[in-house]
């Protein structure tokens, strides 16, 4: 238990009379990727938004390195828990300016060497000066990945990061995710609608159904359970 980076404790959220998540608990260790799977509307993306505190839970909490996240300033929490959205939402300007965005919020800046290193990590060497309007979908998603890494997070939340990408770009992004988890020891929670992707990348998988945890198991067993159910 001492090793746990992220502990989600009985998170629940309702909007009006609509249940979004109920009593969701799990933990993630360093260098571990937990895949969150389930049908559309099961609450997968809502779960990530609650962990990043973009939404407020009705009950339950999240512990980051054993500290209740409500005792952390939201900006500090979000620096330590990076989030990559389904769409990259890059800011107008160059790739380097996007990478500088997070550190600049704390009055810091990356050296050109830091920028190059981050871009090399996501397989985009030499892209620092490129305008974001000239990036493909896969490149843009990898820039958003590097942008999140620029903050030096301890936890990474990925919301279907390859859902809008073709096969080749998906393979590139998956490789970037694997190496970030392995090399940087990141605790990672990734939402995916693709059980095979969970098998390729995840150490464990969590199946959500109608806002509740159905099972937490190996990705293979979760994939089989999903297939049996559908």
């Amino acid at each position: 238990m001492n090793n746990v980076v992220l502990q989600v404790e009985r998170l629940s959220r309702t909007a009006g009379d609509r249940l979004i998540l109920s009593d969701v608990s799990f933990s993630v260790n360093p260098a571990e990727l937990l895949a969150v799977t389930g049908a559309s509307g099961a609450g997968k993306s809502s779960l990530l938004r609650l962990i990043n505190r973009l939404d407020e839970p009705c009950s339950g909490t999240v512990l980051l390195q054993g500290v209740d996240y409500r005792s952390l300033a939201p900006r500090e929490l979000r620096r330590r828990i990076g989030m990559i959205m389904q769409r990259p939402y890059l800011f107008p300007g160059t790739v380097a300016a996007n990478l500088q965005y997070g550190p600049a919020q704390r009055g810091k800046s990356l050296t050109p060497a830091d920028v190059d290193k981050l871009l090399a990590r996501v397989g985009l060497d030499g892209f620092a000066g490129r305008d974001i309007s000239r990036l493909s979908g896969g490149e843009a998603q990898r820039v958003s990945f590097a942008r999140a890494l620029a903050n030096g997070p301890e936890v990474l939340l990925l919301d279907e990061p390859t859902s809008a990408l073709d096969e080749a770009a998906t393979a590139q992004v998956e490789s970037v995710i694997s190496s970030a988890v392995r090399d940087r020891g990141l605790a990672c929670v990734m939402v995916t609608h693709n059980p095979d992707q969970a098998v390729r990348l995840a150490h464990r998988a969590l199946l959500l159904r109608a806002g509740r945890i159905e099972a937490i198991d190996t990705p293979e067993r979760i994939r089989d359970a999903q297939r049996a159910y559908s």
């Binding site: 989030m83 997070g102 919020q105």
Partner: protein
């Protein structure tokens, strides 16, 4: 032509108003023949506008003969009415009435008070109320535009704003580009007015002074003064209103709460 036939100024005004109304009505009837139904709205608006301006004119005549201390109260009433109108036009923005009152009071109120203290606006009822009303009315328009635009900008850039928050940005930093866009858009009309002054249009105050046989040079300069004050007060109004709305858009925990799906949740 009418001047030669009618010598009584009130009767002349009534006849001129009727001709102008008939002209506007003819245009709406033409629009109706093209499938744009405006006639009812136009008739109601003209009757309402004519009634209001006659009543206000009569009140104004009484006020102009009153003491100068009346002016701040009249202007405060105008600011309240302007805030209410502005808030109705920007009704989808949260706390629109409260924001509009603060913003228009800060923008128009401070501009009028400062300029009256400096002597740019003469400290008389005849000057404070008409010039003040122009400043308040333009602050009202700019405020409604700014609130509506900022709300629309935020609602159409939710992904970008939440991405910025997720990277550790403060709400101010996350919303800044959209706040700047709203501010820029709301100041386009007063800027255009200044830019086209004298070339495209001769505004009401200047026209009034010229019709009253005032000095054309002073009328021109003073019109510029009024338009510059309008721009300044609109700038303050919109800066305050967009800032206040941007504070309303986020929770204490820096969460974006100005989202359509949240406002539809009971």
């Amino acid at each position: 032509m009418l001047n030669a036939l009618i010598h009584d100024p009130v009767l002349l005004g009534v006849v001129q108003a009727l001709i102008a109304a008939l002209f506007a009505l003819a245009v709406t009837l033409f629009a109706r023949s093209r499938g744009v139904a405006l006639t009812r709205d136009a008739v109601v608006s003209m009757l309402r506008g004519a009634g209001q301006i006659v009543v206000v004119g009569l009140i104004f005549v009484a006020l102009l003969r009153g003491p100068v201390w009346i002016a701040p109260f009249v202007l405060a009433g105008m600011i309240a009415a302007a805030a209410s109108t502005s808030a109705r036009r920007a009704r989808h923005a949260p706390s629109a009435l409260r924001i509009s009152i603060y913003a228009i009071a800060a923008g128009a109120g401070c501009t009028i008070a400062l300029m009256a203290a400096l002597g740019v606006i003469e400290f008389t009822v005849n000057s404070l109320i008409p010039v003040g009303s122009m400043i308040v009315a333009n602050a009202m328009n700019a405020n409604a535009l700014a609130l509506d635009r900022l709300r629309a900008e935020i609602e159409s850039h939710i992904g970008e704003i939440e991405s910025a928050l997720a990277l550790g940005a403060s709400p101010d930093a996350a919303v800044r580009p959209y706040l700047q866009a709203a501010l820029r858009a709301s100041l386009i009309p007063p800027l255009d007015n200044l830019r086209s002054l004298g070339i495209v249009w001769i505004p009401g105050l200047m026209a009034g002074m010229l019709l009253a046989h005032g000095s054309p040079v002073y009328a021109s300069i003073y019109q510029f003064v009024v338009l510059a004050l309008i721009l300044g007060s609109a700038g303050i109004t919109c800066t305050v209103s967009t800032w206040l709305l941007s504070r309303q858009a986020f929770s204490q925990a820096d969460q974006l709460i100005l989202r359509p799906e949240l406002s539809s949740t009971p």
